[in-house]
């Protein structure tokens, strides 16, 4: 997708306005040039890149576990009606509450190290995969279930060869939302307990309230969020290129 001239004009206009505002109150609004200088300083002196890379590594590890757990749960309630009847209302309940509120409890259970961050990401993220995977499983079984039975495909072969490929477009649609939630979870965790990473960069900016740093850190977070979403979107399209895109 190439950006339209109007979109570029909008961005250019915003940057120009920001630069202009910075000439009046740089302590309040900073400016694009000041932020660029600050980003270079953070990269040189503040370990910006290792901190961001570490955060992304933790996020990806936790996210992988969360996606596996959530998808598996979704598969189970999509496949077995009894499990769906028994647990779906409670899973829906978990889906509509701010699970990030559980972070203080996670601190009590897991301390403030890497394990705590992983647990936080899993807790906040896994639920987003459950319903896409359940819907995908149901659709997949509806379309291919009889055929699979006729050919006596069952057990793990049914799961790996029939259900998962059929459910893939739905799972892929859930991935984009879940990676954004995972980023939020890891940053909140780091911010709260002071575990070094993007979260502590935000914490430092929040403590010092230096306008250049505040904007620089927000831009770094934007870049990480945009990069992750784009990568997951791209990977998802590659994975399910042969199927129609679905939205959930």
């Amino acid at each position: 997708m190439t950006p339209s001239p109007r979109s570029l004009a909008g961005v250019a206009l915003a940057l120009a306005g920001w630069q202009l505002a910075g000439t009046f109150r740089p302590d309040f609004t900073s400016s694009p040039t000041l932020v660029a200088t600050e980003l270079v300083r953070l990269a040189r002196e503040g370990d910006l890149l290792p901190l961001v890379a570490g955060t992304v590594a933790t996020l990806l590890a936790g996210w992988t576990v969360a996606v596996t757990l959530g998808t598996l749960t979704g598969f189970l309630i999509g496949r077995y009606r009894l499990l769906a009847v028994a647990f779906e209302p409670y899973l829906v309940a978990l889906y509509s509450v701010p699970l990030i509120a559980m972070v203080p409890l996670m601190v009590i259970w897991f301390g403030i190290g890497e394990g705590f961050l992983l647990a936080t990401v899993v807790l906040a993220t896994a639920i987003t995969m459950v319903f896409p995977a359940a819907t995908g499983t149901r659709e997949s079984m509806r379309a291919y279930g009889e055929l699979a039975r006729a050919y006596q495909v069952s057990g793990h072969r049914l799961l790996l060869r029939v259900v998962l490929p059929g459910a893939l477009p739905y799972v892929v649609a859930g991935l984009r939302i879940s990676v954004q939630r995972a980023l939020m979870a890891v940053v909140v965790g780091q911010f709260l307990v002071g575990h070094p990473g993007l979260g502590t960069l935000i914490g430092d900016a929040r403590a010092r309230l230096d306008a250049d740093e505040v904007f620089a850190v927000a831009l770094v977070a934007l870049a990480v969020g945009a990069l992750l979403t784009t990568l997951v979107g791209w990977a998802g399209r590659r994975l399910s290129a042969w199927r129609p895109e679905v939205s959930t």
Binding site: A9, F28, I100, A101, I108, I202, A211, A221, L222, G225
Partner: protein, 251 residues
């Protein structure tokens, strides 16, 4: 037994099983790590009768009300405008999209710089969480509405303002309701984080303090109150949607 009644029996049995497992596990662990359901129940009663929970939610509800009022005005207004008028959408969408991709927590330092740590800052943070759901739902709803209605209105020379009022607005109504429900659910995340990272008050502040003091039973009770509110918001507003716009399939 009829099928729905049997389903509910299964559900209640599942809940009872979960509670039983929780009770059994918790009895073998220190109460500071995992309190038993009975203890959590007692803690909930203490929080309710002591007024702590009411105080915290009272502070929070006002902030949410103001923030969501702002979010609905801005979200519905911008959503209608950008969904209807493409050039403006192309101009502004990259900026709004960038703001949407930024994890909202990264805005906390900026909000602290511009608005301090008190009520105003918290309202802005909750607004940042609630706004986008309203805006995107309304914009996409207006964008996806039946083009032939608009063409018909234009063919009959209906003035722009009247088209907006009599064609676009009614078509957008279900999306407005859905957007407000999703926005309010999202705003609850903002509520919690506002209590963690801005001034420690409201329900988020209460959860933060209880966790820091290792008052685990009260902490779990406070978390349950957040869950009950989230659930009530979701179910209640879904019912309202079904009643006000019965022709719309809710998301």
């Amino acid at each position: 037994m009829t099928a729905p009644a049997r389903d509910w029996a299964v559900r209640i049995a599942a809940l009872a099983l979960l509670l039983l497992v929780w009770q059994q596990v918790a009895q073998r662990l220190p109460a500071a790590i995992l309190p038993t359901p009975v203890r959590v129940g007692a803690a909930a009663r203490d929080l309710l009768t002591g007024g702590e929970l009411a105080l915290a939610w009272g502070q929070t509800v006002t902030q949410v009300a103001v923030a969501m009022a702002l979010a609905s005005v801005a979200g519905v207004g911008l959503g209608l405008l950008l969904g209807w008028y493409r050039p403006l959408d192309q101009l502004l969408s990259p900026l709004l999209g960038a703001l949407f991709l930024t994890p909202r927590i990264a805005l906390v330092p900026l909000i602290a710089l511009w608005f301090g740590l008190q009520d105003l800052a918290k309202i802005v943070l909750i607004l940042a969480f609630g706004f986008f759901e309203v805006f995107f739902t309304v914009r996409d709803g207006v964008r996806g509405m039946e083009r032939s209605y608009l063409e018909l209105a234009r063919a009959y020379g209906v003035p722009t303002w009247r088209t907006l009022r009599t064609v676009v607005l009614p078509a957008a109504r279900p999306y407005v309701l859905t957007g407000l429900r999703l926005g309010l659910l999202h705003a609850l995340v903002g509520v919690v984080l506002a209590g963690f990272f801005l001034e420690t008050s409201g329900i988020g502040g209460l959860i933060y303090n209880l966790g820091a003091a290792l008052r685990t039973a009260e902490l779990v009770a406070a978390l349950l109150s957040v869950m009950v509110v989230g659930l009530a918001v979701n179910v209640g507003l879904r019912r309202l949607e079904a009643r006000l716009t019965p022709w719309q399939v809710t998301r």
